[in-house]
Subunit: 240 residues, 2 copies
Amino acid sequence: MAAAAPPPPTVPAELNMDLPTSYPLFTRIRLAAKPDVPVIHKMIHQMAVFERLSDQCSATEPSLAATLFSKNNPFESFTVFLIEASTTPFPSSSSTGVNHKFIPIHKTLNLDLPISDPESEKFTSSTMEDDVIVAGFVLFFPNYSTFLAKPGFYIEDLFVRESYRRKGLGKMLLSAVAKQAVAMGYGRVEWVVLDWNVNAIKFYEQMGADVMQEWRVCRLTGDALQGYATASGTDGLDLI
Amino acid sequence: MAAAAPPPPTVPAELNMDLPTSYPLFTRIRLAAKPDVPVIHKMIHQMAVFERLSDQCSATEPSLAATLFSKNNPFESFTVFLIEASTTPFPSSSSTGVNHKFIPIHKTLNLDLPISDPESEKFTSSTMEDDVIVAGFVLFFPNYSTFLAKPGFYIEDLFVRESYRRKGLGKMLLSAVAKQAVAMGYGRVEWVVLDWNVNAIKFYEQMGADVMQEWRVCRLTGDALQGYATASGTDGLDLI
């Protein structure tokens, strides 16, 4: 003798009125190319301001254009993913931004509040689609582990514009790089974080990353690097 | 009226007998290529033993051969310099090991004692020249600074075999990378060091490097990385 199933719970109509209205935000991650240099340049400078390192940032549009996207093969050299946002859906069959090496990743977010982006006009996508705004970027390139005998990716920069923060876009960019690494059979994704940036460290650990406490980055740059120009193989530097 | 110049100082003959006898060691830094994979493989495993990380080293000759030297252009991807040593001079007009992109660097060291290298037969140079032994290597590849809008080099590994240590070979390898970076107009050379390795840190600071105390390396690898394979663009991971 089967017991009668209880009736399914119902949500009273009056409670529905209290639920927050949802604002969809359509996002797309795609490979950047030369026409995107102006927005990338603006974001690099915003990142420098955010990090209080503006004095160290000498990137210009021409210098970026001269050093990025000169190779035909993304992922083999310096590579940029852009994350773009729109309040209207991206055409599903859109060929815009498609590169044979990477199929754009689409995701729809449901926000409690609409995005307020006072700089949207400065960050219009180079694809010229209506209402498509560049919200962030990640710049990465191959590295190599001799122990694994495998390439990996090193993430140099990950940046989300202020109006789009705390909505998961940074995680989506990092995930896109990790997914690409797995797809290529790579062994690692690495980056650096400032030791006092506890929120970032927590975020990265939640992403599955190990924060290596014992390693320190060594950097040879500026005059110290230029000094090696004149050190020939035969006179060289003093031996130690 | 000119004063008579003092006679030049002379070294008494009997003192000369106390001067140490000098043993010349001829060295050459050249680009590595596929035929060098076996010795590179042996050195990577010696390095893992030295760092007590043998359990993390899964590199094999085939896996290294499959991932190194597949590009025609050195410096644009993973690049290895070998330092080789000989007790007899390298032919000055030798074309061996010459790549159009890099002219080998020769330097003669004068040692107080001859090198005793019990493993010399295992490390014979792939160039098949007489009495040329591989003594160490450096593996590096391009990285990129968005602030400088310039590439640089990242040094993944620098290793000198035990019999050849404390003779300046590590410095010669690091200098060769720095010099190449300057020649290419690059902005930085970077690497990492363990924070407890005070001798290495002192050495790098003497080389002109800054040791960045605040940065920590984050690494996503193994199962944590593989987990991203199944995270699609639409389901993804939970947003934070």
